[in-house]
Symmetry: C2
Subunit: 485 residues, 2 copies
């Protein structure tokens, strides 16, 4: 099936005032031919190169937490790899990053009826949290479902205690506020620390970390199972207070947790880097199509899914394009952003360093919500641009996937936010759900992603070799078309 594309002529791909209008009245025959060659590779099960290369890097270096040496070693691996492609220009750009060190941490609950009575609660401190001091913090735990409930309980119930934010998973957007703002909110009522029920709909005693807004009290995530245990203990104890005749009531204790965290933060700790890899355009090389993923990860697991898959899908796309007989007109640039998981300084550094060529960016894409079967892009841009992208997606990407387009009113991904706000047409590249194939526009369309998100289970086995190749092909198709008109 060589001709996926009806070699036809399209109208001007005009992307409105903010981005330059470019080239001709027709889609070049060459573009369509090159896209066909890219699509040929989509089903090539012998090509597992994207997965294999990400596996080699993550097996060697582990995670890539911003500001940590593992990040920089991994950067060297990528630069070394890119330098083996004569058509690539690869370099690092400085980013001054914050550093957060987790150090030793644990949480325990004393349950006298157990043997041993000290029960370990698997946990992960939240990113940017302060530590507890070496003696730790030990206090009763008050389960709270919402911020409204917190306020209603108030200082009289909360002060001196640990708040457990225990809302069940609805969606990442709904639940993340408790992780991000829980400590800031609870400290107002005198809480000494916060625990957060891990943000996921599925757990095998799996703690999920993530960033929190720094506060005067520490925060940590515990498992769904232990959150439920604490709630049952709390309810049982309170019922026994009201009704001491309940059998075994003398055994029911208040849930009390000892939290020990030795976390430390450094604001401007280190000069680290973004990775830039250019495939220079054939004739309009000053104009840029940017495809990207973030390179930094959390310090648990190896950031295979988040966001090795996104960064390496983009990088794999560039390699596929480099293999083609015809170089596209414009430059295609892969960016691997630093510091996405914390303060976005990779994005800000890039925007500043490239401020004189923002207007030359035709399109910017990021992939950071998983690389399962590709679905398409949420696009922030003019209606005209979106209509044209929609037509292109339907024309080229119905076989491999990744061609669906919807309009987003806001920047559709974290690291392209500044570019979007400066008028670059931008797309967030998104997959179908890992398990249900649900589209990503509904909360359940990303549930599979959140089983692994920010956990020690973010390992290579989350990503399917064939799906990762499909992502690279789809990104390559988008990049080539947009770079060649």
């Amino acid at each position: 099936m060589k001709s996926y594309v009806n070699v036809c002529f399209l109208a001007i791909l005009a992307f409105g005032d903010a981005s330059p209008v470019y080239g001709g009245t027709d889609m070049k025959v060459r573009s369509a031919q090159m896209v066909n060659l890219l699509l040929d590779n989509a089903g090539n099960v012998n090509d597992t190169s994207v997965w294999d290369s990400l596996a080699e890097m993550t097996d060697l270096y582990g995670h890539r937490m911003t500001g940590h040496i593992q990040y920089d070693r991994s950067v060297s691996w990528v630069i070394g790899d890119a330098k083996r492609y004569p058509s690539f220009t690869a370099w690092e750009e400085p980013v001054t990053v914050n550093v957060w060190n987790r150090n030793t941490e644990y949480a325990q609950m004393n349950i006298p009826t157990r043997s041993p009575p000290t029960v370990d609660l698997p946990m992960l401190g939240l990113g940017q949290s302060i530590g507890t001091g070496p003696e730790g913090i030990e206090a009763d735990v008050i389960p709270v479902e919402t911020f409204e409930d917190l306020e209603a309980l108030g200082n009289s119930t909360i002060a001196g205690n640990i708040v457990l934010f225990c809302a069940d998973f609805v969606s990442y957007r709904d639940n993340a506020k408790y992780r991000f703002s829980g400590a800031s909110m609870a400290e107002k009522y005198g809480a000494v620390a916060v625990l957060v029920q891990s943000i996921t709909g599925y757990s095998l005693m799996t703690p999920h970390t993530g960033a929190m807004n720094p506060a005067s009290i520490p925060g940590a995530a515990i498992t769904i199972e232990d959150s439920k245990l604490i709630q049952r203990m709390y309810n049982r104890y309170n019922e026994a207070q009201k009704n001491p005749s309940i059998p075994n009531s003398e055994k029911f204790i208040k849930p009390r947790v000892k939290l020990v965290m030795n976390a430390e933060s450094y604001e401007n700790a280190k000069v680290s880097s973004n990775i830039i890899i250019d495939l220079k355009g054939s004739d309009k090389s000053d104009e840029i199509v940017l495809i990207s993923g973030h390179f930094d990860s959390w310090d648990v697991g190896v950031g295979a899914m988040d966001d090795g898959g996104g960064a390496f899908s983009a990088y794999g796309a560039l390699k596929m394009i480099a293999n083609l007989p015809a170089r596209p007109s414009r430059t295609i640039r892969v960016v691997m952003w630093n510091n996405e998981e914390t303060l976005g300084r990779g994005m800000y550094a890039y925007t500043e360093a490239h401020k004189d060529e923002i207007s030359k960016h035709i399109f910017a894409m990021e992939s950071d919500v998983g690389n399962f079967n590709p679905w398409g892009m949420q696009v922030m841009g003019t209606d005209d641009a979106i209509a044209k992208l929609d037509a292109l997606g339907k024309m080229f990407l119905t076989t491999v996937g990744g061609g669906n387009i919807t309009k987003s009113d806001d920047p559709p991904d974290a690291d392209i936010e500044t570019l979007c706000n400066m008028g670059v047409t931008c797309g967030g590249f998104e997959p179908l759900d890992k398990y249900t194939q649900a589209i990503p526009l509904v909360p359940a369309g990303t549930e599979g992603y959140f089983r692994f998100h920010h956990t020690q289970a973010d390992r290579m086995e989350v990503l399917d070799k064939n799906q990762l190749r499909a992502n690279s092909v789809a990104m390559a198709v988008w990049a080539y078309i947009l770079a060649d008109q």
Copy 2:
């Protein structure tokens, strides 16, 4: 819908030569009426008593590993609970059990390119394994998929090394042999320890323990993800030896693991107990219908699913029957077996202690493969008995589930094996798959169970409150019918 059951007359429920023929020519009207009352409760979402009682016990005491104090504390909880039911006779019977203490254990791999270079491998020592000695065992790891591959590699490759049995999950039956016999097989070729890829089709960095045949070398389970990491490192290293021009080949090292286990075993360590709870029959009380689950668990998680769900479904069934206005003719006996996970001594102790009344056992049922939506029973018995049970299941249990019957040539569950082999008609009570609702007669029909099996994730959240009640109702229906003819 009061009349689930067409109050009709059935033929003699004759169970062949091995079990006594009982009862008149007709099913008693009373039986059918009582079954209707049991079925009335099936959909009562306000009755979460089975789940709640299991949660209270496991929240208080944690796991119930045979021979450990947590087991005995949990027994006291059950006996105390049963004594609050005037119609129950509850007691303990002695079982001399072996004891295996896990103690401190860990596994690490040194990967110099990582920081820190010491990488922790989540693991669980296999039950009955010996320890490594305090210095641990450190050696290169050789991945091996099958026993045939092990033999082919032979002493020249294996001696002095650690064998990793890395077969992917097909079914528990297919894969468990590597866990059970891996050490015994590998020691023949000079291996110093074995690692086993955890027996599951789904992992979030989840180690699964389980028993191994004791050998002269220790054995431990690691996660699927780390098994795959070790295999990739092994393959990369070997490819680099053949082809040193591969980029980064100087960084590829042989996978080498340090295993530290302080496990200890005691053969006849302790006199512990089985739990027996009788609801005495109204007129043929010497005849017994036995329903059961095992009470001991592994020492990770709290044994909620394995086998708290089975033991408490049976116990819940007895409570439901005790609430009925009419006591059945025969005694219904709940047994909570000790020592199932290790040596089956609970079963042997019961068989010995009750040897003079084995012939009075009409039927024996065990539930030990999960308590999700009930499916039915695999039955070892005469064709006539099976046909009658099949008819009864179709008559009574199509609404709540649990009525399907198939013939088993072998004892269908571990702790009723001796009773089955002594001629008691016996059934293994089984659920539909937790996720797919697949029937349990195909390997994929129990895949959901093996996500949690023998892991720290065997917690109350695995069991659904309504499904657990449905299990109790189904077991109660079977028990009542069989006890009342």
